[in-house]
């Protein structure tokens, strides 16, 4: 029985989060705007207009190239790609054909089984977005609001092998795009679009067979599912002795079905030629160096560093590097705390995450600052408060904006630090519950938990549970 290998390449279009479009001064973000309200003569392709390049689009494109370990080309060029389509007002798209801004590049993925997969980048270039069409009663209605939004097109080599890997790549890519601040990368809003190319071959073969192209993938889940579906289909065809033909397939997320759109025609002749209305895109050695230096520590690198230097688990490290503001918060809190990373990590992954979720805030939006968290942990360590109290204080800090110390004082949340009073309290509890004491002494040791609960209640939560337990056991053991 032959085994087959699935070969997958992903083509992504990434909307850059500049203020204005790539070749005109309309806003780049027009989500929710009325159709054709965010247009001008340039992006709607009126006769006589000319494109003018947005410097920030170049910078963000170059930054993305650097983040993908690609080489930033000091000189790149724009070209026209000519074809007819109603969402393409000029009848050509301004793109980069043979001299793109980025060359090479890769992303390393750690697969669930621990293996590394390097996904190489085949193409990375700048181009302009097209408009949107909507079908209505046999007519196509076209909205140019999105025409001219700056895009980076990034195409991988066919290095991926499963739908799961493709989903992982996209997840990582999305996190990276947000991390370096070049795109909101929200697939539902179309900031990140993906087409998948799938083919199969016999395991061990080096040749590439005809591939199908899957379009209309609007979420990472859709990418995973569609690829899995198509892989199954193609393998079935091969096993039946058939031949896979090149088609463009449309994924219907509602029915989880792939339908053939059209034969992948011989590539239309786009008659690419150098765009005469634009000058070459030039980046000096200094500018390139500045862009490369401005690249922050990337999520994967930071994840590795957290595991290595802070001895965090892979799980924890991944969560703490999934989003930039969260990650920066963690590190600042840890530095101020000066103690074990695991402690800070636990608080962040559990209580802080819950808080952020409840309030719908990101780490940078919290009133509770890293210094506050550090202070809270110091109070806990110093026995000034116990764990349940700390959770309460956390929320109170967020609500009021006051420091933990201030809240503990004002609200009298400090633990009892009077051991004598505690001894008295424990003794009191034991005295009031002779039956339970007898049971305990007779062997029902689980009652110690019940006793502790009573002590804690009696103390209004202010007893230090460790101290209370120690005293309880001492007194219970006596007599």
């Amino acid at each position: 029985m032959k085994t087959y290998e699935v070969v997958i390449g992903l083509e992504t279009h990434i909307q850059l989060n500049t203020h204005s479009k790539i070749f005109c001064s309309c806003k780049a973000d027009s989500w929710g705007a009325e159709p054709n309200s965010n247009i001008c003569p340039v992006c709607s392709g009126l006769p006589g207009v000319l494109p003018v390049l947005n410097a920030e689009a170049v910078k963000k494109g170059a930054l993305l190239a650097a983040a993908m370990h690609a080489q930033i080309n000091p000189k790149s060029e724009f070209d026209r790609k000519n074809y007819f389509y109603p969402d393409l007002p000029k009848g050509y798209q301004i793109t980069q054909f043979d001299e793109p801004i980025g060359k090479g590049g890769y992303m390393d993925l750690t697969l669930p089984d621990g293996h590394q997969r390097r996904v190489r980048i085949h193409k990375l270039h700048l181009e302009e977005d097209a408009g949107k069409t909507k079908i209505s009663a046999g007519m196509r209605l076209v909205d140019f609001n999105r025409c001219g939004v700056p895009l980076v097109e990034m195409v991988t080599e066919p290095d991926l092998r499963t739908g799961e890997e493709a989903a992982l790549y996209l997840t990582r890519l999305r996190a990276l795009l947000r991390w370096i601040g070049v795109s909101e990368a929200d697939m539902e809003k179309g900031h990140l679009r993906c087409d998948a190319n799938v083919s199969v071959r016999e395991m061990g073969s080096q040749t590439l067979n005809p591939k199908t192209e899957i379009k209309n993938l609007n979420s990472i889940d859709a990418v995973r599912q569609a690829i899995q579906e198509e892989s199954r289909r193609q393998i079935a065809v091969m096993e039946a002795g058939g031949r896979v033909e090149s088609y463009t397939l449309d994924w219907d997320a509602d029915t989880s079905r792939l339908t053939k759109m059209r034969s992948k025609e011989t590539e239309a002749d786009y008659r690419y030629f150098r765009e005469p209305d634009l000058l070459p895109v030039l980046l000096s050695a200094e500018e390139i160096a500045a862009i490369e230096h401005s690249l922050p520590e990337l999520p994967l690198e930071r994840e590795e560093r957290f595991e290595r230097d802070y001895h965090l688990s892979a799980y924890d490290a991944e969560i703490l590097t999934s989003e930039r503001s969260l990650s920066d918060y963690f590190e600042e809190a840890l530095q101020r705390y000066g103690g074990e990373a695991k402690i800070v990590s636990n608080w962040m992954i559990n209580d802080l995450a819950r808080l952020m979720n409840d309030l719908g805030k990101s780490a940078s939006e919290l009133n509770l600052r890293p210094a506050d968290l550090a202070e809270l942990l110091h109070l806990l360590d110093g026995g000034k408060i116990n764990a349940p109290t700390a959770k309460t204080v956390l929320r109170r800090v967020e609500e009021t904006g006051k420091t933990p110390t201030a809240i503990v004082e004002e609200e009298g949340l400090g633990l009892m630090d009077d051991l004598a009073a505690l001894r008295q309290l424990v003794a009191q509890v034991l005295k009031e519950n002779p039956a339970e004491v007898a049971s305990f002494r007779a062997g029902k040791e689980s009652l110690s938990g019940w006793f502790l609960g009573q002590v804690m209640r009696r103390s209004g939560g202010k007893a230090d549970p460790r101290q209370a337990r120690a005293i309880l056991l001492e007194l219970l053991a006596a007599e």
């Binding site: 203020h19 780049a28 159709p35 007519m139 339908t259 005469p276």
Partner: protein, 106 residues
């Protein structure tokens, strides 16, 4: 002189690419003119090119200049643009749909 570079078949392919539905009376005239033009263009391939010559885009060298700063500045009257549409609906440009050739899933 050799056979026409642009045969009737190639001509039809070009008009299709160019999205032009020509009437018969135009076709032969245009095809003949194109072939005449190509005859004139033929000499281009016979000119000995100077060894170090690089293709030029504008003739003169245009020195680099800084690109546009990333500031948004809305066009005041987008409505005037849509108003030019031969047909519009709900504020959008309206055209007939593409001929669909969506086939059944295998």
């Amino acid at each position: 002189m050799g056979p026409d570079r642009i045969t009737p078949e190639l001509f039809d392919k070009l008009t299709s690419l160019a999205a032009l539905a020509l009437v018969e009376s135009e076709k032969e005239y245009l095809r003949a003119e194109l072939n005449h033009q190509l005859a004139a263009v033929r000499e281009l391939s016979e000119i000995p090119l100077e060894e170090d010559i690089l293709p030029t885009l504008h003739g003169l060298a245009i020195p680099p200049k800084p690109s546009r700063p990333d500031v948004s500045d809305a066009f005041p009257e987008p409505g005037k643009i849509v108003a030019q549409a031969p047909e519009s609906e709900e504020g959008m440009f309206a055209v007939p749909d593409v001929a669909h050739r969506k086939s059944e899933e295998e």
